[in-house]
Amino acid sequence: MVETMAILREWLALGLIGAALPFFLGGTLGLLRFPDTLTRIHAVTKADNVGLGLLVTGLILRSWSPAVSAELLLIWVLVLSAGATAGHLVGAAAREDQEPAPPEGGGP
């Protein structure tokens, strides 16, 4: 019984890791093909982070150790928060590029 569980876990883990690949590919593809900066932010932050989440889940299943799982989850949460903040900042910067804040004295 334990062996079947282990084999099941292994297959599930590999499946999740494999499933993460299209998300990473999609993220890069979006970065290359989307029309402007603001849309590219979606590709990079969302697709890549979901891919990383799937990867992390697969690796947790594979390692099945509390310490490793904790570190993996920490990494994922860190990348998520950093990605969200970076996406917000880059978006604000790109937005300023497109519509500069109204100048004080009038005239750019």
Binding site: S81, T85, H88, L89, A92
Partner: protein
């Protein structure tokens, strides 16, 4: 499997060379800096492939993070610097140098493929001495015990770099005059304790796992840079006297503990084997703090120059008020 490995190595090598060329000859400096950060990542992957996790750790921390920030801080304000045209002589020199490097690489590749494989890994003398080194990690044993003299000098060089940079310019974090996004502040508030914890952990495990003072120090440096980026630079948070003390603490502790064996009739830096582990840990702790502070302070030293046209009035006022503050800064 072998095919995949070869493919991986090929992609890594080609990307490394291509990135290096692109960094040097990129048209925009900002683009070159981003490419350099990518180069740091590929370099770290190469270190992993070469079975050198300690170096990969250091490369990920320093090459990807700190050097990027340092290069960015050194960039001139966009629109101020005009791109130079290269004279034909310059271009010829660059072409010759490039051809020379390619030739060297080709020669090295040839040697690599034709010479018999040498020994990989530590020699027998190193392995025998590991017992008396006080640590289990071979890299730490070499850095902090067998060749501790080199590491001592490296710390001194870093300190000299900070002193030299200060002699040439002033501490001036660019973000000081800007408004800070509250979302960014929240992230920094969450990340800062984590960074300190990770730095301490990495420094501590250096005795038996990849890690050590430089890796921990690099993370502390990145934390210091992050603080400066959100307008709370270290010189504003701590008394300058304390910062100066921490800067030299690594070197002083190293010298002090290295001189201890002299009292026992041993040579300088010849740690007695029973205490070696503790001595190394103490040195690494102090060194990590010094390295972190040095890196954080190095990034935002800027040359004294007149306020440029591209800066906001607030930044201009900051530039003019800063010299006065630095002049009386020693009194804090």
């Amino acid at each position: 499997m072998k095919l995949l490995l070869a493919g991986l190595d090929l992609v890594l090598a080609a990307t490394l060379l291509g990135l290096a060329w692109a960094v040097l000859f990129s048209r925009g400096r900002f683009r070159a800096v981003v490419l350099f950060v990518a180069l740091g990542l590929v370099m770290a992957l190469v270190w992993v492939r070469l079975a050198a996790p300690e170096v990969a750790l250091a490369e990920a921390a320093i090459g990807a993070g700190i050097t990027g920030a340092m290069l960015l801080a050194a960039l001139p304000r966009p629109g101020v610097a005009k791109p130079r045209r290269r004279s034909p002589l310059e271009q010829a020199a660059i072409n010759t140098a490039g051809a020379g490097v390619l030739l060297l690489l080709a020669g090295a590749a040839y040697l690599l493929l034709t010479l018999p494989p040498g020994q990989i890994g530590p020699g027998p003398a190193t392995l025998e001495a590991m017992e008396a080194s006080g640590v289990t990690n071979r890299v730490t044993a070499v850095l902090l015990n067998f060749r501790s003299f080199d590491t001592l000098l490296e710390l001194a060089v870093l300190l000299l770099a900070v002193i030299g940079a200060w002699a040439l310019g002033r501490w001036r974090p660019q973000a000081a005059a800007q408004a800070v996004n509250p979302i960014l502040l929240t992230l920094v508030r969450g990340v800062m304790p984590l960074a300190i914890l990770i730095a301490g952990y990495l420094t501590w495990i250096g005795d038996w796992a990849p890690g050590g003072a430089f890796q921990g120090g690099a993370i502390l440096g990145a934390a210091g840079i992050l603080l400066a980026l959100v307008g709370r630079p270290l010189p504003d948070l701590f008394p300058h006297g304390l910062l100066r003390l921490v800067l030299v603490a690594g070197l002083l502790v190293f010298l002090g503990l290295g001189a201890l064996p002299l009292g026992l009739g041993l040579l300088f830096l010849q740690y007695p084997p029973e205490q070696a582990g503790g001595i190394i840990l103490a040195i690494e702790a102090a060194a990590a703090l010094s390295i972190g502070l040095a890196l954080a302070l190095l990034v935002y030293v800027q040359q004294q120059r007149a306020p440029d046209a591209g800066s906001t009035p607030a930044a201009g006022a900051a530039a003019q008020a800063a010299p006065e503050r630095d002049g009386t800064g020693g009194a804090r």
